[in-house]
């Protein structure tokens, strides 16, 4: 999947979000993910019953886990994650449900874990690496939709710190820093302009 496809898919989901979750009115911040939010839209679009569960495990390695079945999916996340990281993790895993196909399914957990531990996101096949990175961008595009580009850049121009901007969107500060990094900003700006 190309970056352009990620943006287009996020835009489609966001259109459905406005229709289904905002009664057609412009979306307000922060974007809702649970309780008639993005997850319900993604569930409708994929035909999967999606549950999100927070569990209290005392660990430092695993933060979240996606399990996709034929007709359902579970997104499990750690109680150690703060609000913003929880929201982001849920969206990132949900984005896999939207965009992945059989080619990018992970079917060998041992190779998957070995890859993670060797500091490469996923090494089973090249498509896995791309799918993981695209899911990060996809989650970013879902939580910081293109319609808020002007607002986002305005906050930055007004001198707000990335942490303060992150609070507005309820996303991790690191995600705001990534979104505002010159290279990604340039790519997404061009894509968003082409879409409008």
């Amino acid at each position: 999947m190309r970056l352009a496809d990620v943006s287009l898919l996020a835009r489609d989901v966001h259109s459905l979000y406005i229709k289904d979750c905002c009664n057609g009115s412009p979306a307000s911040l922060p974007i809702k993910i649970l309780n008639n939010g993005l997850i319900s839209v993604i569930s409708k679009r994929t035909g999967l019953a999606i549950e999100t569960r927070c569990l209290p495990w005392n660990g430092h390695m695993l933060r979240a886990n996606l399990r996709r079945y034929k007709d359902s999916a579970s997104i499990i996340y750690s109680n150690e994650l703060n609000t913003c990281w929880s929201r982001f993790c849920i969206c990132k895993e949900a984005y896999h449900l939207l965009s992945d196909d059989v080619k990018t399914y992970s079917t060998d957990p041992v190779s998957l874990v070995n890859g993670l531990m060797n500091d490469m996101p996923v090494i089973t096949i090249d498509d896995d690496i791309e799918a993981e990175w695209m899911a990060v961008i996809g989650a970013m595009e879902l939580l910081i939709p293109s319609q808020f580009d002007t607002y986002l850049y305005g906050l930055e121009a007004s001198g707000k710190e990335h942490y303060e901007i992150a609070l507005e969107f309820r996303v991790p500060e690191k995600i705001i820093s990534l979104r505002l990094s010159p290279a990604l900003r340039k790519s997404l700006d061009q894509l968003h302009n082409d879409m409008h």
Binding site: L34, W57, M61, A64, E93, L112, D119
Partner: protein, 63 residues
């Protein structure tokens, strides 16, 4: 490889239930230089146990 074997037993059962894809999100700094796959699978097995026991935490702050 006890923990890995335990996880793979769980995984095989889930495949029978229709599991088609599994992904782990580890985030930054998850692994120290001494980390082992056994430790990872111990954590994953703990998650499976908690899930089976339905030890779900309501997170009203996650909206």
């Amino acid at each position: 490889m006890e923990e890995q074997e335990k996880f793979l037993e769980w995984y095989a059962k889930e495949l029978d239930k229709g599991l088609v894809d599994i992904k782990f999100y580890v985030g930054e700094g998850s692994f120290t230089k001494n980390a082992t796959t056994e430790e990872f699978f111990r954590e994953a097995n703990r998650v499976n146990e908690l899930y089976a026991q339905q030890k779900f935490i309501p997170r009203l702050d996650v909206f």
